[in-house]
């Protein structure tokens, strides 16, 4: 029995939305779902846009507190812990946001160095070595003294990955890491993520709506449909999955059970 690092039990997430006329309505994004992620596996969360993939990811990462249900991190009930204990667990997690969230005012090297300086007690020389090591790993050592807006979108993604990885987190969350990139660049970025993950034996959770990327990255695939979640297993099992929604999504068919939701 592998060790479960992340677990959601009967989680429901509701957002209070303020409507145009000042009316507030509760919108249920996720409903009564449970899932377990074990150490060292690579998980992809896929599904149509706007149905809660990113919400699920943020709930797993402890950024959104579920309205009902519990989040378990390394076997501990996350929201029952004191804030210092929570902090200790959060340090083990790294997140790459959809829009990179790079610091524009810092050079690329500084972008990687900054979180290291803030969260570890390593000496300046050690930190510099780590910065160089991770910039080299994503092929950006030559761009160390440039600013983020001086490099291409694909390079910014890679820089974001280097920054997230440099803290050597045990669990890494990626929110749509290849959004808007061309397929060639996307494939290289996923390759890079897998290489780094294998070296560090970390756990990887990736949200994407591109099946090619999901198949490339994942040991296990989850589909998020309207409020509920479907575990379809390995890429091979997913391809053979009998659920018509999954088949429609994989093959990108315009007609099918999902047509209405994504219209």
């Amino acid at each position: 029995m592998a060790l479960s690092v992340l677990e959601l039990k009967n989680v429901t997430v509701r957002f209070n939305q303020v409507g145009a006329k000042g009316t507030s309505t509760d919108q249920e994004i996720l409903k009564d779902l449970s899932l377990t992620i074990v150490k060292g596996e690579r998980v992809a969360i896929v599904g149509p846009s706007g149905l809660g993939k990113s919400t699920l990811l943020k709930t797993l990462a402890g950024l959104i507190r579920p309205t009902v249900g519990t989040l378990w991190v390394e076997g501990q009930n996350f929201y029952n812990l004191s804030s210092s204990q929570q902090q200790r667990l959060l340090v083990k997690m790294g997140m790459l946001f959809q829009r990179n969230a790079l610091f524009d005012s810092m050079k690329n090297g500084e972008n990687v160095r900054f979180p290291l300086k803030e969260t570890t007690h390593k000496s300046a020389i050690e930190i510099e070595a780590i910065v160089d090591q991770f910039l080299a790993a994503v092929g950006l050592l030559h761009a160390k003294d440039l600013y983020p807006d001086e490099i291409s979108g694909g390079m910014q993604k890679r820089l974001g990955i280097a920054r997230a990885m440099a803290l050597e987190p045990e669990i890494l969350f990626y929110d749509d890491p290849t959004a808007g990139l061309d397929p060639i660049t996307s494939r290289k970025i996923i390759e890079l993520m897998i290489n780094l993950q294998k070296q560090k034996q970390s756990t990887l959770v990736v949200v994407t709506n591109d099946m090619n990327r999901a198949f490339q990255v994942a040991d296990r695939i989850f589909f998020v449909f309207k409020k509920d979640i479907l575990s379809t297993g390995s890429p091979e099992e997913t391809r053979k999955c009998a659920d018509p929604r999954v088949q429609q999504f994989i093959h990108g068919r315009p007609e099918g059970p999902l047509t209405e939701v994504s219209a």
């Binding site: 846009s49 694909g154 061309d182 397929p183 999504f249 068919r253 047509t259």
Partner: protein, 242 residues
């Protein structure tokens, strides 16, 4: 219908389009594929005069347009409808007014004609009931359809699409793609689609062009592309969903 003759476009020290020559016959659906930053969008924007080429000639419907003034270009933009990568709808206007926007500017039409054109355009993109909604109230996929309807309402002879499916999930991608084919055939327009989705290209294009670093590295029918030995084309083919 459209000709590029040795078009060069530079941004500062970088040359984006390198003596690009391209002929598009009337009625064709042409896909232009390539990785990010190879000048695909720049090509479309030079065509409608949002950017001007540094060298070379652009012919649209028998007119050399690259030296046209902004006023002269208005006529070209009636003929060439551009659908932007982002929906680029006007947030403060209803869906109806968004679609009517171009009609009111380009033509002096009676209101009844505008209403009927807007409704037929919205019907063509399968959104017959959305006209009174605000852009913020509808999904991203629907916004893309509205932006298509807005361009369509002008009855252009040429439709230009800038990465119409980038960032969309596979199902929305498929439906947008299908819509492009349907509308191009229905209104017999010449369509140029800039994209990096080989799956879409193979399924609806008459001809595909692969662009790399501002140059054409391969072109031909979908069948020709499937057999191509050009490395970049092969990499794109590896992504095709079957």
């Amino acid at each position: 219908m459209i000709q590029f003759e040795k078009v060069v476009k530079r941004f500062g020290p970088r040359t984006i389009l390198k003596e690009l020559t391209l002929h598009v016959p009337a009625g064709e659906i042409l896909f232009i594929l390539g990785t990010s930053g190879t000048g695909k969008s720049v090509l479309l924007k030079t065509l409608v005069g949002l950017l001007r080429p540094d060298e070379g000639e652009i012919w649209i419907d028998g007119q050399e347009v690259s030296k046209f003034s902004e006023i002269e270009y208005l006529g070209i933009r009636k003929k060439c409808g551009m659908v932007f990568q982002q929906p680029a709808l006007f947030d403060s206007l209803t869906v109806f007014e968004n679609v009517a926007f171009g009609l009111r500017r380009h033509y002096r039409l009676p209101e009844a004609e505008i209403v009927s054109r807007v409704h037929s355009s919205l019907a063509a993109v399968h959104l017959p009931d959305a006209s009174e909604k605000m852009p913020g109230e509808i999904s991203y996929g629907m916004q893309k359809r509205v932006s298509l309807a807005r361009t369509l309402a002008l009855r252009p002879q040429v439709l230009l699409f800038d990465e119409p499916t980038t960032g969309l999930d596979p199902i929305t991608t498929a439906s947008v793609n299908l819509l492009i084919e349907e509308l191009s055939r229905q209104f017999s327009t010449t369509s140029i689609v800039v994209s990096h989705d080989m799956t879409c290209a193979l399924s609806i294009a008459d001809r595909i062009i692969m662009l790399d670093q501002g140059r054409i590295v391969e072109e031909g029918s979908p069948d020709h592309m499937k057999r191509s030995q050009v490395p970049l084309v092969k990499e794109f083919l590896a992504e095709v969903v079957t």
